[in-house]
């Protein structure tokens, strides 16, 4: 039996989750971002994401994208990894959304494809949208690649994110792997007991039933994982081995992030 959309998506998600786990290794390497206090990384990179969304000029966004590339290189994050996990994926999704803008935005005609026109303004609008998303997601990905998840959570807590929100994020990360594995096993089990090709309607019904069972298992698993965390002393606050301590280097880094972000917003207004 061939794999359906839902099954392929689940398997792809499982692979993505596995890669996310491996990104913890990158987070523990030595590099520019890794040398900064996690709180500086969180605030600094999110301020750059904010700057990207506020920039209206494509050259300013391109400048921020170049900065993201430089930060990646100085933080031992390979460009091939970024291209594979971030840039191509974003291009595929955002490209579909941005594509119509090339044809429907009125303005100076650059070229003509049959009965439709491509305008310079349309190209600029589509380019700006794609580049903005690419840049924002690259900054966010850099935070994830360069910071162990437990440090991200502790940094968010230090930045006064409510304890309940942190607990939810911690739980999500901890049991998402189990959930994906369970889903993959359910699909494999179903495939092993299915002969021939199912009709699309039957396949949809089966997918709906599987989703229902998966939801029940999700709830059960999440409470099991939470009990296991509680049993070992988890009381809502994330504890990590290293104590966060701001040095001059961290303050300098934070100022630089904020200065670059502010400059980009001013230049791209």
């Amino acid at each position: 039996m061939s794999r359906g959309f839902l099954e392929s998506t689940t398997m792809a998600f499982a692979r993505a989750i596995t890669r996310a786990m491996l990104s913890e290794r990158t987070a523990r390497q030595r590099g520019l971002l890794q040398s900064l206090d996690p709180r500086v990384r969180v605030v600094g990179l999110f301020s750059l994401v904010l700057a990207v969304t506020l920039c209206r000029r494509i050259d300013a966004v391109a400048g921020l994208f170049a900065l993201a590339v430089v930060l990646a290189l100085l933080s031992q994050v390979g460009l091939a990894i970024l291209a594979k996990r971030v840039w191509w994926v974003v291009l595929a999704f955002t490209g579909i959304i941005a594509l119509p803008a090339i044809f429907i935005t009125p303005g100076d005609v650059v070229t003509r494809l049959g009965t439709v026109f491509i305008t310079a303004q349309g190209l600029r609008a589509a380019g700006l949208l794609v580049l903005r998303v690419e840049t924002a997601v690259t900054f966010t990905a850099l935070l994830v690649f360069c910071t162990p998840w437990s440090h991200v959570l502790k940094a968010l807590r230090a930045l006064r994110l409510p304890r309940e929100a942190i607990a939810m994020l911690a739980m999500t990360y901890r049991y998402v792997f189990l959930l994906v594995e369970t889903a993959a096993q359910m699909f494999e089990s179903r495939r092993s007991r299915t002969v021939g090709v199912l009709a699309p309607a039957e396949r949809r019904r089966m997918a709906a039933r599987t989703a229902g069972v998966l939801l029940s298992k999700t709830i059960e698993t999440s409470s099991e994982v939470y009990l296991a965390m509680q049993s070992r002393g988890f009381a809502g606050d994330i504890q990590v081995l290293c104590d966060f301590r701001m040095t001059m280097w961290d303050y300098a880094g934070l100022l630089l992030f904020l200065a670059v972000g502010s400059f980009a917003v001013w230049a791209g207004r």
Binding site: E24, R174, L227, A228, S231, G233, L241
Partner: protein
């Protein structure tokens, strides 16, 4: 001297389905107890109640003379020493292993309990070596074999050097060598005066891990006695679905009797 755990008329249900029905029992410090019962007899539920994870719907649970209640467990002055003293190893290691690496996993509980950094690092490294999993320290737990996961799960609580170990089916799904390693470990604790409460339905390990057996049947205590007393009562074991009637024939004559395996002896 009061028992370490004292349960009186404890009831618990899962959305109306009774798991424990009026259970009363005391467990003294340093005892090695096996909770023996078929699937669904209430063993895991009882362990969770002893670990303070589930509150009793009715009845009372006391630990070291104090009531074990959700309110008390929300108080750090009680909860931190309790979590330090009592540790539960879950039946399914997958729910217990949720950190990025084996090292982080073993360090999780000491971190939550606020151990000093130097003590924590030394103890985690020592525990990894003790459990023979030092070579796995940087591996993600979800990629380990079943036996390795179980050992990491054990290491993740042993690191605290708890006084009370609650083990939920510690040898289920393990290969013979891993089973033997876990049993050796439990036997080592005997000399350290630890209280070890093992939930299992595997009769073949009971003699090795316990001196007292509590047989559970549909959420009630069906029997409570020494290992020799309980294992010698084949009728009880048969009724509690812990052995099965074994039918075979000798020279054309059909026999039917309980089938028991033991590490110490293999008897029919």
């Amino acid at each position: 001297m009061p028992p370490l755990f004292e349960l009186r008329d404890v009831c618990f249900d899962y959305e109306g389905i009774a798991a424990l029905r009026g259970l009363s029992v005391g467990i003294a410090q340093g005892e090695r107890v096996a909770l023996l019962g078929a699937n669904g007899s209430g063993k895991s539920t009882l362990l969770r109640i002893l670990d303070g994870l589930y509150p009793a719907a009715q009845g009372s649970v006391r630990f070291d003379g104090l009531p074990l209640t959700p309110e008390r467990l929300q108080n750090d002055d009680f909860a931190l020493p309790f979590r330090r003293r009592v540790a539960l190893v879950f039946q399914n290691p997958d729910v217990q292993l949720f950190n990025p690496t084996v090292w982080d996993e073993v360090a999780f509980a000491p971190l939550q309990l606020g151990w000093p950094k130097e003590k924590l690092i030394a103890k985690v490294n020592e525990t990894l070596e003790l459990m023979g999993i030092g070579q796995l320290r940087d591996r993600p737990p979800y990629r380990l074999s079943g036996g390795e996961k179980k050992r990491v799960a054990l290491a993740s609580v042993i690191v605290l050097d708890p006084e009370v170990l609650l083990l939920d089916e510690p040898t289920a799904t393990l290969d013979p060598r891993s089973q033997s390693q876990v049993i050796d470990l439990i036997q080592e604790w005997k000399g350290l005066s630890k209280t070890v409460i093992t939930a299992t339905h595997q009769l073949e390990i009971v003699e090795d891990v316990a001196d007292r057996i509590i047989v559970l049947e549909e959420g009630r205590i069906a029997a409570d006695g020494t290992t020799a007393e309980i294992l010698g009562n084949h009728e009880l074991l048969l009724r509690a679905n812990l052995v099965h009637a074994h039918r075979h024939s000798h020279a054309g004559v059909v026999h039917s009797h309980p089938h028991v395996h033991s590490h110490a002896k293999h008897e029919h």
